[in-house]
């Protein structure tokens, strides 16, 4: 005899449960956690380096790196920041469990800000919550102004959006209004920072925003 069994269960439940455990650990440590997402070459590492440079004297920072090549890790370690490589096994994204597995290698109690660098990809990381305070998406001018329209899930899930490489805007047909409208429809009121990691333009505003959020964390 055949029967239809109704289920209606979210397939990413297992990930979301582990994300909630990560969130609990971050909260217990009193730190602010960021999940940095972008295309390959969008500027994740550059933004992280600028952020470290701007905040390392005032706050205790740590970085977890889900990127494939350890070149980025060395740059961060050279700045005296504790950094851990998350083993993604060549995966296209980080999930909550990979982050959870890497947490013991980082002294969370000693940190004010934990930066998690996701795998360079505008599709897959959008689906997997990590348990962070803010999902930070970095888009960049050379990628084109149509990215929110092509990758709506990523832009819908962002809590903060950085538009990097603004110094190239004069050489590109990048319509900032078209870009921002796409973002605004998907994600009304999202925090938006046009920046250039090369010239430093816009970085102070991003750092101010971050300082305020770190200071608001109950210790």
């Amino acid at each position: 005899m055949s029967e239809n069994i109704p289920i209606v269960e979210n397939i990413l439940n297992a990930n979301d449960l582990i994300a909630a455990r990560n969130e609990e650990q971050f909260r217990a440590a009193g730190l602010l956690a960021l999940n940095i997402m972008a295309s390959p070459g969008g500027g994740k590492t550059s933004v992280i380096l600028q952020t470290i440079e701007g905040l390392k004297d005032a706050f205790r920072l740590g970085v977890m790196d889900g990127d494939i090549v350890p070149i980025d890790l060395e740059k961060i370690a050279e700045m005296g920041i504790p950094v851990t490589l998350i083993n993604t096994g060549g995966n296209c994204h980080l999930d909550a469990n990979m982050v959870h597995g890497a947490l013991p290698s980082m002294q969370l109690d000693g940190l004010d800000l934990l930066i998690i660098e996701n795998v360079g990809n505008l599709i897959c990381p959008a689906a997997f919550k990590l348990g962070v305070d803010y999902n930070v998406v970095i888009a960049s001018v050379p990628e084109g102004d149509d990215k929110p329209y092509k990758y709506p899930a990523m832009f819908k899930g962002a809590d903060v959006l950085l538009l990097n490489k603004m110094d190239l805007q004069e050489y590109m047909d990048f319509d900032v209004d078209y870009f921002r409208h796409g973002v605004e429809v998907l994600n009304p009121g999202v925090a938006f920072f046009p920046v250039s990691c090369r010239t430093g333009e816009g970085i102070p505003a991003w750092l101010d925003w971050l300082r305020e959020r770190i200071s608001q964390k109950p210790k």
Partner: protein, 121 residues
């Protein structure tokens, strides 16, 4: 290729519910996937054929109900499927629109064969 992990989740949810119902075989898996969840049908089916082997879900057919993302116009109230080039209302031309749906990603139901003792209950 994140579909492997996802396929494992689908299998474990399906097996749990099948077991609870006293099923001896899972014949069909009915999934609902919104346009804003980035899942590729073919990959899930590909992984399914590998990982479901040896379970009561081996050979099960995966059915994907794809739902488009819908937008809602805050000015005239019109609802319409997302156009990936232009986010504006096709009725009144307003750009004051928001996403109404499209992020669904769940296992809706499974079709199973029940064990004889489960049937007599």
């Amino acid at each position: 290729m994140h579909e492997l992990g996802i396929t494992q989740s689908i299998l474990s949810i399906a097996l749990e519910h099948a077991q609870n119902a006293g099923a001896v075989r899972i014949k069909e898996i009915n999934l609902v996937i919104g346009e804003l969840s980035s899942i590729v049908d073919d990959s899930v089916q590909f992984y399914w054929d590998m990982i479901a082997k040896g379970t009561i879900a081996e050979g099960a057919q995966l059915n994907f109900k794809r739902l488009p993302a819908w937008l809602h116009c805050n000015v005239c109230g019109h609802e319409f499927p997302m156009n990936r080039e232009k986010f504006e209302c096709p009725e009144c031309g307003s750009d004051k629109i928001v996403v109404a749906s499209g992020e669904e990603f769940f296992l809706e139901s499974i079709d199973v064969d029940l064990a004889p003792e489960a049937q007599s209950e």
